[in-house]
Every structure is written in structure tokens, then in C-alpha cells.
């Protein structure tokens, strides 16, 4: 009965999105306040309904109700409680429900917190959001109903894929979806602005916090996914240029560009047309990602078991939303006035450069991801595009961008002075050169590119700090007043500094972990020791162990450095009972920012086992840097300016109520 209620709540939500798709927009176009007023309560109600539906599915999982097909196929009564919760989105139907839940959640957020938006913009935005919600609710109901029942339920379920039985499933998909789906709001804002034909600096000011919110979650989601793959798959890799990884990376790149172009639009009223296009592209890439993952066109660790009807349905949604919004754009964009002239060397110029490189990089990833699919469809030829392609295209596009990152914030608006800007960065430049030479001295000529990479990372980090230090004239006015001024800087200034610093940290991690990694693959017998960068790894032997729903063979290793005990590691090979499926659990020891990584291979019967030992210098910086970037976005969002109604010329304020502070 409860399960049917969950299903019914979804149907109700769908019906309500249809209402919200039409009435508020009608109201916005005809100036009818009552029709516009439908949108906020409708958006909140839709969210409550989908939340109820999601709760019902969760209850079905937690109580192991195997009369529900979805639970039967993806759960098991012996599964630990945490995985019964997270298993809700560990499959296609459930994760799609989570996707839709977040989609309508964002709609409700605009409904609740959008009070200082002009009424017509809010109504139109919510209507567009409802179109997207209606499309995906229909997709759920028509092709992926999570509440389908089975007639004669068996006593036991098929269990969740063991790879997913990990805390990572609790963190990675929700974060990623908030990011992915969060861009739907930016999209809705863009389409609403096109429909209303009004696009001003205030629009950019409203859109920016939403973009920042989505972007920071996407950053965290991608980073957590990368760390999960790193420790769970046992290959020691943290990024594989897997098509599905790319599917989440493309919206991130486009979203990063959007974040920056919105600044130009807000401050200088320039790049309007471009910003709107980016907003449309970013969400289109999110939709494309959803299509790639769920249609079964890809071979990937992520792909869900799929049936073709779903692929066709999502493809149709994709065509309607992307095609529709781009047509609308082509029709309405020429009517938008361009404003704000600027010289090529200026803050705006720097942000344009950022956008150029980021979009070019997005295009490179796009081609690399889709080319094999297109080639297969046209010629039937099977190819794989892997890391070498992306290293050769994405890499070279990132280098000039990273070199330019510190220059952006020190250039002045409208007309910048490159020499004056460089002078503010002398200290950062010096430090970067010093670190490059130091790395060269440490490693010799054996690795030429790596020291340059280290230098580049230090340049980005030091450049970020140099910007705020020179902005408050820290050294001229003395430390005491300097600190006071630093604390008085607006949140967005801190946001820029922190996020840019985070990029430097991530780059440093990437460079050192890729260039200076040490690896040893060997067969070990109990008592054997391998040496790796000064660590002695001794294999003490393996023993079987029984887990709640798996059995495992645990290898016991003792790590010593110069004879002194460091730690013990227990990597294992698990076999999950229900599916008879093996997985590898790596043993990881963190030393500072570096990690020692042990993973077991096949055991050889006579007590011998294949072992892979890695030393990954500074690898955790890759993920720490991402967390710092997200923190930067949080600082930027906290900027007071973004929470207060933007000032507008009085003449333009026809329907809008007076700007009221949100507090």
C-alpha cells in the first residue's frame, strides 16, 4: 500500500509540474499577478511529493520489501544498514528518482528564496524548471518506475553490486547530482530571460550564487568519485578519462567558464549573449552526461543495465531541451543589447581568455568522448580514445590557462596595465622559479617536464595569495592594519583567492603523483620484503575472514622505515556471497600528503600472492585542492552583495517590487 502511495505521489507531482509549466509563464507574459503566484507554492508542493515518494522507496529498501522489483534486484537482507540506505540510488531507477528529487528541490529553493527576484522572472524561471521536471518525471513513470511490484516475491534479493557497497556511494552520487542538476536553475534563468527579453547586470547577480552552488557541489562530487575509484578499484589510478567521468567533467568545465563570464556580465554588462549561451550549454552537457550514462551506448564501469527505450526517451528529452533552448536563443539573443567596451588587456580580457580556453578544452573532451560512438555508428569501426588523446589535447590547452590564472585578478577592469600587474606578481614568479630549480636539483634532468609542472602549480598558488596581499598593500601598511584589511575584503575576493589557490594545489598533486610515483609489482611469499622509496613492505601471510555478506582473504603486511615500525596494512580480496563477485580492497597508508598503496592480486595457492605496491607522492593534494576550490565557491556565495537585491535603474523596474534585503 505504501509503495503504491509512493508511485501515486510521483504521478501527482508530474500533474502539478504540468500546471506549473503553463500558468506562471502565462501570468508573466500577460502581467497577471495571480497566475504568477501559482509558481512558488506549486514548486514547494512538487518537492514535497517527490520527497514523499523517495522516502517510500527508502522505506522499501530498509525493510527489504522484496515485492518491489527494484529492491529485489538491488538489495539483500544481509546487507549492512548503511548500504540499504545508499542502495536506494545504487541502481538506475532509484538514482533517477534522486536526480528528479534534486531537480525539484532546486525549483523549491527558487520558490522559497526567490522573493527578491522580479515576480515575472521568478515565475518564468519556475515554469522552465517545471518543463525540465515534467520531462524527467515522465521518463521515470514511463520507462523507469522504481515502484514496480513482483507477483510472487522471492525470500531473498539479488544484492547490490559489491563495488557500490562502500561509503563512497553515500557521498559521491548525491554531491554529483546536486552539481549536475543544480545547473538546471541557471538554464531555467537563462531561458526565462530569453523569453522575457530582459537581461541585465542584476540577472547575472541572481544567477551567480546558483552557479556557484552547483559548481562547488560538482567539484566535490567529481573529486569524491575520483577518490572512490582510486581506493575501491585497486588500480591505483584516480582519473581514467572514462567516458562517464568525462560526462561529469564537461559540465564542470563549462560551468567554470560560466562562473567567470557571469562576473563580466555583472560588473560590466558585457558578454551577455555569451553568458546566456554558456548557461544553456552547461546544462545541456549535464543532460548529455545523463544520456551517456543511462542509455547504454557506452562501455564503462558506470553504465547501468539498460533497455533501449530509455536511451531513446532521454535522447528525445535531450533534443527537445537543447534544441528548443538553442532555437529560442537564436531567435531572441540578437535583441539583447551589448554593453561595456573593454581593451584586450583588462580584467574582462582575462576572463574572456579563461572562457576561450575552457570552452576549447570542453570541446576537446567532447570530441574525445563522442568520437568513438559516432565512428562506430557510421563506419562500424571500433576504436578507443584514452588518456594519450586527452593528454595531448586537454593538457596543452590547460597550460596557458594556468599560466594566465594569477594575472586575471590583478588586472584592472576596462583597461589594464600588464606591466603593473606583473610587478604585483614578482614574488610569486620568484617563488615559482625557485621551486622549479629546486625540483630540478632534487631529480636532475631525468624528468624535464615535472619540475616545470611543479613551478606552474606554485605559480598559481603563490599568485593567488600575491593578489590579495598586494591588494590590501599588506607590507606597506604593516601587519596589524594589513590583517584588518584582509578580514574586511569582500567574500568574493576571498573566494577567488581560495579557489585559485585550490587549483594550484590540485595541479601540484597531479604533477607529483603522476611524475614521481614509484611502483613495484611482484609475487610475494610470507616473509618476503620489497623496498620502495625507503619503505620496507613485509608480507606476513594471508588469512580468510568472514564479513557480513562476503568472505575475504586478507593479506597482512608490516611497513617499516629503516627498520623502525611504521604501520600495518590489510589489503584484501573479497567475494560477495550473493553475487559470487570478487572485489579488491586496497590497503592505504597516508604519510603527510603522500600515500603508500597496496593492492592484492590473485593468490597462487602455495601462500604466494601477487602484490602491487605504490608510493604516490602528494597524491591527496588532488582531492584536497578540490575541497579548497569548493570552499572558495562557498566564500564567494557568502558575499553580502549576492544576497541583497541588486540595485537597478528605476526606469527598468516595471513589475519588480522594490529591492529588499534578504536578511
Amino acid at each position: 500500500m505504501l509503495v503504491e502511495f509512493g508511485h501515486y505521489a510521483l504521478v501527482l507531482a508530474f500533474a502539478l509540474t504540468l500546471v506549473q509549466s503553463v500558468l506562471p509563464l502565462w501570468g508573466a507574459l500577460s502581467g497577471d499577478q495571480r497566475l504568477m503566484a501559482v509558481a512558488p507554492p506549486a514548486s514547494v508542493t512538487i518537492f514535497m511529493l517527490v520527497l514523499a515518494s523517495f522516502t517510500v522507496l527508502t522505506i522499501a529498501y530498509v525493510t527489504s520489501d522484496f515485492s518491489v522489483l527494484n529492491v529485489l534486484e538491488n538489495s539483500h537482507s544481509a546487507k549492512p544498514m548503511l548500504y540499504k540506505f545508499t542502495g536506494v540510488w545504487g541502481n538506475h531507477e532509484g538514482s533517477m528518482l534522486l536526480w528528479v528529487l534534486i531537480l525539484v528541490f532546486f525549483g523549491a529553493l527558487v520558490g522559497i528564496f526567490g522573493r527578491n527576484l522580479p515576480a515575472d522572472l521568478r515565475a518564468a524561471t519556475l515554469a522552465v524548471q517545471a518543463w525540465v521536471s515534467a520531462g524527467f518525471l515522465l521518463f521515470l513513470l514511463a520507462t523507469s518506475n522504481p515502484f514496480e511490484r513482483v507477483l510472487n516475491p522471492p525470500l531473498e534479493g539479488a544484492d547490490l553490486n559489491p563495488i557500490l557497497q562502500d561509503i563512497g556511494l553515500a557521498i559521491h552520487p548525491p554531491l554529483l547530482y546536486v552539481g549536475y542538476v543544480g545547473f538546471s536553475i541557471t538554464f531555467s534563468f537563462a531561458v526565462a530571460a530569453l523569453i522575457l527579453g530582459r537581461l541585465d547586470a542584476a540577472w547575472a547577480r541572481w544567477v551567480r550564487p546558483w552557479t556557484l552552488l552547483a559548481w562547488s557541489f560538482l567539484t566535490l562530487g567529481i573529486a569524491m568519485g575520483s577518490y572512490w575509484a582510486y581506493y575501491e578499484l585497486g588500480w591505483g589510478g584516480w582519473w581514467f578519462w572514462d567516458p562517464v567521468e568525462n560526462a561529469s567533467f564537461m559540465p564542470w568545465l563549462a560551468g567554470t567558464a560560466l562562473l567567470h563570464s557571469a562576473i563580466v556580465m555583472e560588473k560590466r554588462e558585457a558578454l551577455k549573449v555569451w553568458t546566456v549561451l554558456l548557461a544553456i550549454f552547461t546544462f545541456s552537457l549535464s543532460l548529455l552526461g545523463t544520456f551517456l550514462v543511462r542509455s547504454g551506448v557506452l562501455t564503462s564501469v558506470h553504465a547501468f543495465a539498460t533497455d533501449p527505450a530509455r536511451g531513446v526517451f532521454i535522447l528525445a528529452l535531450l533534443c527537445i531541451f537543447i534544441g528548443g533552448s538553442l532555437s529560442l536563443y537564436a531567435w531572441r539573443a540578437p535583441m539583447l543589447k551589448q554593453g561595456g567596451l573593454f581593451a584586450p588587456i583588462s580584467r574582462e580580457g582575462g576572463l574572456v581568455l579563461n572562457n576561450l580556453f575552457l570552452t576549447a578544452a570542453t570541446a576537446a573532451v567532447f570530441v574525445g568522448t563522442l568520437y568513438p560512438l559516432v565512428l562506430d555508428a557510421i563506419t562500424g569501426e571500433k576504436i578507443s580514445v584514452g588518456a594519450p588523446f586527452f593528454n595531448l589535447t586537454f593538457g596543452p590547452l590547460m597550460i596557458p590557462l594556468l599560466i594566465a590564472v594569477p594575472f586575471g585578478p590583478v588586472l584592472s577592469w576596462k583597461r589594464g596595465d600588464l606591466l603593473a600587474a606583473t610587478q604585483r606578481l614578482y614574488a610569486a614568479l620568484g617563488l615559482a622559479l625557485l621551486m622549479t630549480l629546486f625540483t630540478f636539483w632534487l631529480w636532475g634532468m631525468e624528468k624535464v617536464l615535472a619540475p616545470l609542472g611543479v613551478g606552474l602549480a606554485v605559480w598559481v598558488m603563490a599568485g593567488a595569495i600575491a593578489e590579495i596581499v598586494t591588494r590590501v598593500k599588506f607590507f606597506e601598511i604593516g601587519a596589524k592594519r594589513g590583517f584588518a584589511r584582509l578580514l574586511g575584503l569582500p567574500g568574493s575576493a576571498w573566494g577567488t583567492t581560495i579557489a585559485h589557490f585550490g587549483i594550484g594545489v590540485t595541479v601540484l598533486g597531479i604533477v607529483t603523483a603522476s611524475a614521481f610515483q614509484e611502483e613495484r609489482i611482484t609475487t610475494m611469499r610470507p616473509g618476503d620484503t620489497v623496498n620502495l622509496v625507503g619503505y620496507e613492505v613485509t608480507f606476513d601471510g594471508a588469512a580468510p575472514r568472514q564479513g557480513p555478506n562476503y568472505t575475504e582473504e586478507v593479506g597482512h603486511f608490516t611497513i617499516r622505515k629503516a627498520g623502525a615500525y611504521v604501520t600495518e596494512l590489510d589489503p584484501s580480496k573479497r567475494v560477495y556471497t550473493a553475487r559470487q563477485m570478487p572485489t579488491t580492497e586496497a590497503g592505504i597508508h597516508t604519510i603527510g600528503f603522500s600515500q603508500l598503496y597496496l593492492s592484492l592480486g590473485e593468490s597462487r595457492g602455495d601462500g604466494a600472492v601477487d602484490v602491487r605496491v605504490y608510493f604516490k607522492p602528494l597524491i591527496t593534494l588532488i582531492w584536497i585542492g578540490s575541497v579548497i576550490m569548493a570552499l572558495g565557491a562557498a566564500f564567494s556565495m557568502a558575499d553580502r552583495r549576492l544576497r541583497i537585491g541588486a540595485p537597478k535603474p528605476a526606469a527598468k523596474r516595471k513589475v519588480a517590487p522594490a529591492a529588499v534585503p534578504a536578511e
Binding site: 562501455t299 564501469v301 543495465a305 576549447a360 571500433k382 609489482i521 553475487r579 563477485m581 590473485e602 602491487r612
Partner: protein
């Protein structure tokens, strides 16, 4: 700078970046992509030694030989032809005799395929799509249509 010059600079630099990106993409597509081959493709045609390819098929029953230092050799078959493969490293969890596998590497001068990566999908029912199609081409596909997805 006049308005026109500014606009030209903007368009010029945009064009330059996009041209570089396009050049890189085309160059990489020419050079860095890896073609998928079945054992029959390899035995019948002459894949140049040293060219990177992906070889996919089933791991031949009884062909897996492990030697020390985590080295392993096996044969990949599409039921018509088989190719010998050597690999040093940890095999994926789902690597088993009789199961589908995709390996990437180069063919040595002795005709043995030296793989530097071995992929087996993380699902026990999975047969890589390319492998399934290669098997179908040889008339040895027993699985349902759905399993190939």
C-alpha cells in the same frame, strides 16, 4: 584602440585559440586513438608490430599460466583464432578463463601480444560489447542480446 580594433583583437585571439584546439584534436585523433581488433583480425591481416591496438575476446580455457613476478600469459580467442598474450601486473578481479576480456598493448616481433592493460568489466554477466560483436561475427555468440549491452 578603436572599437573595431578591439573587436578584431577579440575575434582574432578567439580564432587563434580555437584553431590551436582544433589542430591538437585532429592531430591526436590521427595519432592517439587505438583500434579494436579480434584475434581473427590479427591472424588474418597484418597489424604492424609496434602499433597500439586493443585485442578483445574470451580468455581461452586452460591457457592461463602464471609465473613469478606477477607475470601472466594467456590466450585470447574468438573461437576461430587465438592470440598469445603476456602481461605483467595485477589482473582485474573478474579475469577468468572463458570470460570476456579486453587487453591493450602492442604485438611483439615474435607475434606475442604484450599487453599493458587488461580490462574485465565489473559485472559477472558482462561481455565487452566489442567482444560480443566479434564473437557474433564468428558465429559463436550464445548470450542474449541484452548481455552485450
Amino acid at each position: 584602440m578603436t572599437r573595431k580594433q578591439r573587436r578584431l583583437t577579440l575575434i582574432g585571439s578567439a580564432g587563434a585559440v580555437l584553431a590551436v584546439a582544433l589542430g591538437l584534436i585532429l592531430f591526436a585523433l590521427n595519432d592517439q586513438i587505438v583500434f579494436f581488433q579480434s584475434p581473427t583480425d590479427i591472424t588474418q591481416s597484418t597489424v604492424p608490430t609496434g602499433q597500439r591496438i586493443r585485442l578483445g575476446g574470451l580468455v581461452e580455457e586452460g591457457s592461463v599460466i602464471r609465473s613469478d613476478n606477477a607475470e601472466v600469459s594467456f590466450r585470447v580467442t574468438d573461437m576461430a583464432n587465438a592470440v598469445a598474450v603476456t602481461y605483467k601486473g595485477i589482473l582485474p578481479d573478474l579475469f577468468r578463463e572463458g570470460q570476456g576480456v579486453v587487453t591493450e598493448g602492442v604485438i611483439g616481433s615474435d607475434g606475442v601480444f604484450v599487453a599493458d592493460s587488461v580490462l574485465a568489466k565489473h559485472d559477472e554477466n558482462y561481455v565487452p560489447k566489442e567482444v560480443a560483436e566479434a564473437l557474433k561475427a564468428q558465429g559463436h555468440w550464445q548470450g542474449g542480446e541484452g548481455e552485450a549491452q
